[in-house]
Symmetry: D2
Subunit: 363 residues, 4 copies
Amino acid sequence: MKPKRIGITTGGGDAPGLNAVIRAVVKTAAIDYGAEVIGIEDGFDGLLRAGGVHTLTPGDVRGILPRGGTILGTASRGNPFARKVVQPDGATRVVDMSDEVLAAIVALNLDALIVIGGDGTLRIALELKHKGCPVVGVPKTIDNDVGGTEVTFGFDTALNTATEAIDKLHTTAESHHRAMVVELMGRDAGFLALHAGVAGGADVILIPELPFLFESVCRKVCERASRGSKFSILAVAEGAHPKGEDPIYSIAGDEVRVARLGGIGTLVGRIIGERCQTETRVTVLGHVQRGGGPTPFDRWLATRYGAAAVRLAMRGGFGRMVALQYSTITDIPLEEALAVPKRVDLSSDGMLTARGLGICFGD
Amino acid sequence: MKPKRIGITTGGGDAPGLNAVIRAVVKTAAIDYGAEVIGIEDGFDGLLRAGGVHTLTPGDVRGILPRGGTILGTASRGNPFARKVVQPDGATRVVDMSDEVLAAIVALNLDALIVIGGDGTLRIALELKHKGCPVVGVPKTIDNDVGGTEVTFGFDTALNTATEAIDKLHTTAESHHRAMVVELMGRDAGFLALHAGVAGGADVILIPELPFLFESVCRKVCERASRGSKFSILAVAEGAHPKGEDPIYSIAGDEVRVARLGGIGTLVGRIIGERCQTETRVTVLGHVQRGGGPTPFDRWLATRYGAAAVRLAMRGGFGRMVALQYSTITDIPLEEALAVPKRVDLSSDGMLTARGLGICFGD
Amino acid sequence: MKPKRIGITTGGGDAPGLNAVIRAVVKTAAIDYGAEVIGIEDGFDGLLRAGGVHTLTPGDVRGILPRGGTILGTASRGNPFARKVVQPDGATRVVDMSDEVLAAIVALNLDALIVIGGDGTLRIALELKHKGCPVVGVPKTIDNDVGGTEVTFGFDTALNTATEAIDKLHTTAESHHRAMVVELMGRDAGFLALHAGVAGGADVILIPELPFLFESVCRKVCERASRGSKFSILAVAEGAHPKGEDPIYSIAGDEVRVARLGGIGTLVGRIIGERCQTETRVTVLGHVQRGGGPTPFDRWLATRYGAAAVRLAMRGGFGRMVALQYSTITDIPLEEALAVPKRVDLSSDGMLTARGLGICFGD
Amino acid sequence: MKPKRIGITTGGGDAPGLNAVIRAVVKTAAIDYGAEVIGIEDGFDGLLRAGGVHTLTPGDVRGILPRGGTILGTASRGNPFARKVVQPDGATRVVDMSDEVLAAIVALNLDALIVIGGDGTLRIALELKHKGCPVVGVPKTIDNDVGGTEVTFGFDTALNTATEAIDKLHTTAESHHRAMVVELMGRDAGFLALHAGVAGGADVILIPELPFLFESVCRKVCERASRGSKFSILAVAEGAHPKGEDPIYSIAGDEVRVARLGGIGTLVGRIIGERCQTETRVTVLGHVQRGGGPTPFDRWLATRYGAAAVRLAMRGGFGRMVALQYSTITDIPLEEALAVPKRVDLSSDGMLTARGLGICFGD
């Protein structure tokens, strides 16, 4: 029997396109299948408190397609299997609340639960599936690090924001003869720094997948200066790191570690500045990369994901995730998506292209 | 033996990303292979006149990555197999100049010729191949209508421009209670109208692949009004057309045909306005859709195409075209790319999604 | 005594920044003065129907600052002094409903009425003032044609949209060797075409204040071609017109008038194309120029206008309009604002600059 | 006698619109007056080295109108009255090279010298004037801190970049329940933080003109949380500072000063995070704010400034600066412009508006 009541929730970090998925789910369920959609607020937290769920009609999702954020809110640390609960005595204890979550789902009469999230949230969804919950997953990550799908929504929007910043640094770097460092998102995967770096014409790209040597980076910057190039642009993923342990760097007489300086971007800026005798400026884009309305690419993709998730639920494809393969939406087992985290393939045509253009990766 | 001198030319309509391809070709050839690149101006025309070719060094392509247009110029009607030549008496005659083109390529000592173009230009490239020219193709089309590749550069930029226009019409339509028609590019393929229509939340999408009935379109607009929606947005591909022959329409007492009114968008606007008794406004975006700097998506893709084209030439893969399949750059025979023109697949998940959202296609 | 209940309404054509004014009025009234704000829908129409007014709290205006359109809706033809009323027999009669409007204002206990609108709406506000209504005006026009104020919100946003379109045409015109015509808003005032034309580097600018000769325009386009320039950009205000009466033009054997072709832009395109033997493309931006979120300039200005309107009402400055003079918000009598419609000053430094750059105005 | 050869140079920090001024100067001089323009590279440095000057023709400035940066380069520390010169022994000495600069100007036969710059550069221009050089000034500052002119180019573009960043933080802050700090440019003047803060709907704005108390800032953030607002946005000018001396702050057991943490934004973020028990994220926009193509507002203004500077030179108005007053370009003595640095007027309608909306300035 086809689901009549579908729950939907968004978990983990924010990503442009979440609202587009929600809208597509609500409209497709209502218009195409006559089913009702129940929105659950703040990840799974909405199931554990009064007033945390409410019906979503097509009218409720009107106008949200081009908007960033999520009308449902998210809870970045809302794992119901390991939930931090404040005790009467003020201490915090970690409690397994998954049974309460399942009970709430049953009480709400949900025939299906669409979970939109990244690696962490989808892993929770899979565990709920093992406990009997009819989940369907939708991948979400601005880092592009979910496996089994070529790309997911949010990444293209973040790429636009990051590349636009590099473009702007370009014009001012040219006039000023400076080295410009921009720190981009990407704790474990360097897709954003790689794509934005190539699209923005960066000279150096540092990604988590390739630990770097300061020596190589500085050599590149100095070489450019000696060949008459007046500036250098360095795109640095927040998760990029020097080869070996985090050593102590001596900067202007002070001894510092990366953590102390507020990020790898700042460290790279200071060391380049000192060793290459060049004025250096650092931009830390931060959460600006998670914000803004989704690009048309992300809206188109997010809308297709949302509609496909409803169709998947209608077919009873629980424990599976919608995915993009060969430009078409398909679906795969959650286990498959979570088996291997996606990282930049160092032998991909993109990396080959970047190296062929003379971009330095510091390795 | 690997090519030492590579020619490059851009043909057909303009598309954002052409300069990114040119830059990648020049830099990859020079840095990775020590080869020289010769730029040919205005399609194949540059080979038929003095001063129409010149060496391109990495310095010559500095700064062109984010720029729209092509530094080489294009010639939309520059088929050397059927070239219009003005005779001494002022008359125009169609002449086969392909031998002259081949002779010029030989005289320039080109070991490879990279041809960036759409359907028409790639067909010429294939004919040149049959005559012995070592061509490598790079697909280019803002309509996304080249076969054998999932997508090509230019389309994403055009999609951004088109969707932004729909977004803007949305805000003003809401305030004004109007029907807004926007005519988009797409003479034979409706990808741009479909993607932009879905991404922009259009209510009606008309594409060349699906001849429409005015009756259905008007019914949709009227229904929305009667259900309390204060406005309707219609995304119309320039190649969309009513079912059957182009009939004569009676508008405000005048008898008109599509052609006379300056396009299908204007006709749709007038007929909706009259039959639905609603104020209607028409936007004709025109060549704005071909312009502007490429999006990061298009720059990343165009750069990879350019680099891959050089690698393909170095492998001696003449008569082939670089293509995107499964998120990876590969290459296919030009014949395969040209075998079947790409059109919107009416049973694709995108179409299914659009219909499930309640979008009207007028069929 | 200071007003305790303030009505607010938006009339006439849509302009980006209306929501920013509404938000500033509501927040300033509530936070700074403890006053209540009553939103009136669809111009003055909301006062003439049940359910057309409702209280606006700071919570109601949350998030609307960056949004285009107006949450109150507008009624472009909602003059209460001459309202079209459909009779029982189906015929339409024009009726003076101003007494009903005034009665509604009294019934609502409004101590002040903030009217946001252009020339037409502000004229109605003045008439209401003459009948005793405590109105305060806020100028609104994307054409920049309201007198007494240096500029008003909406214009900068429209200027951005128009200039961006010209920028995009530039890149594609360069590659294609074409004449590109873009028709911009401006029925009576040419500010938008003038500013966007100069900002976008247009070669020809046609504005309502300066009737043009086709001969001059064609001469400019031909001259450019003969001097080696490969393209021309023409920015044409929708209200631009040839000198003398609207003649009949012969195009490709057909006889046409401006009106028949759907606008002056299309006519200019066809005539240039025929007389200069050049490929010509026409873009009609239309209502895209009224849409989109306001620029930061417009948000800053609109917010200051809204706050100043509340302060003006608190001082009892009825019958006056807030205005920008010398970078500061001040206020002037509505009569003064409406005395002389604002037009492009043909001897201003802006016009002098444009002519000095060699831009052709067709005169 | 009217100048026949005009020098032009750009000094100090980069600002979007510099190229638009250069283009307007070159085109106006050539087309309107038949005069020649000589471009001087890197501030006054171009006059002190071989190959540092070259003729600029209209062809040389083609296409630079929409581009950021300056084709002439700048030298932020290029004061010819106090120039750092490296001695043969490697030591640096400060030397007065102004006579050499004047001699170069005479040798080049320049009848006028257009100097585009901020406070510092214009002060040098004034000193050169005192030594007999026929200078004309054009104000340039993205901080809007040059006196005598209502606004100058570059500011509007920086405002767009800053506001767009705040907009993006808004969407993600809403979903995540966080405090978001964005550090903006403005060492001495807070215009950018004030305008962007109001335009972006910030809750706290910290500017150099108003030293702040951490207590007030934290109270505002906590109050918002306690009233149910899920997030706070703080716009902080880089020159904002706590009342009193730079104290030592204890953060997570460490003792730090502002300078050590890499900026006031980071400090504000850490202290808010600790004292308000809220997750906090910091964005440091940095030189992104100086980059990018100029907005249409800035292009229109910069073009008018450039054309007006040529007209001023033609009238022999040396020692004066073009300025915008009452929406019109005029000119004032350089002394007047430099008399009092422009700062945010704490009793302006803008400040009044911001306070009336409930924005906290930490004072």
